[in-house]
Symmetry: C2
Subunit: 315 residues, 2 copies
């Protein structure tokens, strides 16, 4: 028997507090070496350009393993379709039976990325958040702010995006879920007003510069999911007091951190994995003057944990 | 929109002649280098022992790409479950949408393996089949004989299996689909009576020996799907007049052929891929005295083609 779960059912099954707890558990398992995550499979397409990534894995002791297929076709918006799509499969580790097919259309990937941002903020944001700065106006810009609402009381935000129309729409949409969003004339203005900043863009030249960052600021970067993307100036990693990554293996290859590592501004030992930070309070922010960075590239344990959570919630 | 297709619907959609044509087309595409098939992903499990293989790929010019997840849990029969399970996913190559989820429980893999055996026999069996010899009594032993019925008029068969009870059951079951099956006292007797032989076992020491094979016999081996399995004596490849493989890359690693190659009884150039044989009549059997072998390890193009066929048949 295989249970087929629609996106509507998945959305109804999501409880933010449980998602955050499940992902924290996943990050800890990953950093403790209890996750088995083989290399990602991928297919590339021309005409139209697109790709497919296949991630799979399990966490030691789990009853299930998970296979995620994610597609990205970047001309889909021209047809009125989302560029990302895909599904997750949950198999029994005891019998190999496909217990559940989660037809999430890529939504769980967006969600677990946003939830990881919330977890980073939970452990790294300074006390007394003044304003949350969001760079970008897309789906992840929306979800990141929404999910920060699950770990913080702050409802004041500021947004910067290249396209003013989209920034206006962002402000309106975020108002509908309780956030007051100002439009930043520039990223420098945003950095000046905000002590929690999340960057969510596919930028290939740095948007955030070390000279503009106030003491006490936490910055989370979620845009770098592959080669060539860079939202944060490498120098930021040098001046930061705390540098957190979801996966040292991935971030050192293609995360925002990778540029600072290659420029030899910092060493690998100066990074802390999010899973270790969750486990050890002494590794976290020490005061409200420190500058902290979280570089999140997305790890398969997030998929493994969120797929399990959805399946269990529906059982 | 994703269409979810049950095993019952899949079974109803199968038309043997169309399956054979679709797979032939796949083998040709593979041998002509028109298939894109990345490395297989896999997960291994302890307690209970099991594995998961993830194959994906597409054929140049197709509108779809396919991801297949296959699981094998070898203690499942103790619980009354099949050891193999899995599903296939058919995605649009234009948008990345998961167009279909084929909940085939591994059945399409069994089917495409049997259909490949029929294709090998179609091009390699001698004229005037006297008796079909089947070594093994499992699911593939059944399906191979059934599918040979789609390319040959011969309904006389002989079976050999280690377990006499299972051989009796095999005879009974095959009678119900029109085959008269004799029980072979030994494999030597089977080789003596049959001029088409199919081996379907997970044997790790050779069952078929060159000294026992009559001139004019064709042998298809489908049991070697991974390291350590060997149904045919390596010497058989030396004395054969024609050696066919589904994939030279795979067969030279772990097929029945690999033992003959490693023992340097033959060179790689002495093999012909099935796709080339289908394309070029001059590469096929030349007379009814030749000994021919087909070593089939299973290739992703079979999955790609059968998944497309099922999806199109249901459209």
């Amino acid at each position: 028997m295989t249970r087929v779960v629609t996106l509507e059912q998945i959305k109804r099954a999501i409880d933010p507090a449980r998602v955050i707890a499940a992902l924290e558990d996943g990050f800890v398992a990953y950093s403790e070496g209890r996750a088995v995550v083989p290399p990602v499979g991928h297919l590339d397409f021309d005409d139209p350009p697109g790709d497919c990534h296949i991630k799979c894995g399990f966490i030691s002791g789990d009853e299930h393993f998970v296979v995620k297929v994610a597609t990205g076709f970047y001309r889909n918006p021209e047809r009125g379709l989302s560029s990302s799509n895909g599904l997750m499969l949950v198999f029994s580790r005891k019998t190999g039976n496909p217990d559940a097919v989660l037809l999430d259309q890529g939504w769980l990937t967006d969600l677990r990325t946003a939830a990881a941002g919330a977890i980073a903020a939970k452990y790294l944001a300074p006390r007394g958040l003044e304003k949350i700065g969001i760079v970008g106006t897309g789906i992840q810009a929306r979800l990141q702010l929404e999910w920060l609402g699950h770990v913080s009381e702050c409802r004041e935000a500021m947004v910067w995006g290249r396209n003013p129309e989209k920034a206006h729409l962002y402000r309106k949409d975020m108002a509908s879920i309780g956030f007051t969003v100002a439009l930043a004339p520039s990223i420098a203005d945003l950095c000046d007003a905000c002590n929690l900043i999340v960057t969510t863009t596919p930028a290939r030249t740095p948007l955030i510069h070390s000279a503009e960052i106030r003491p006490g600021t936490h910055i989370t970067a979620v845009g770098a999911d592959g080669g060539g993307k860079q939202e944060l100036e490498a120098e930021l990693f040098r001046i930061a007091d705390l540098r957190v990554v979801d996966s040292l293996a991935q971030c050192s290859k293609y995360g925002a951190s990778s540029y600072a590592l290659r420029a030899k501004l910092i060493d690998e030992e100066e990074f802390v994995e999010l899973g270790r930070l969750i486990r050890c309070p002494e590794l976290r922010r020490r005061n409200d003057r420190q500058i902290t960075i979280a570089d999140l590239t997305g790890v398969a344990v997030q998929d493994i944990r969120i797929a399990r959570l959805v399946t269990e919630s529906l059982a």
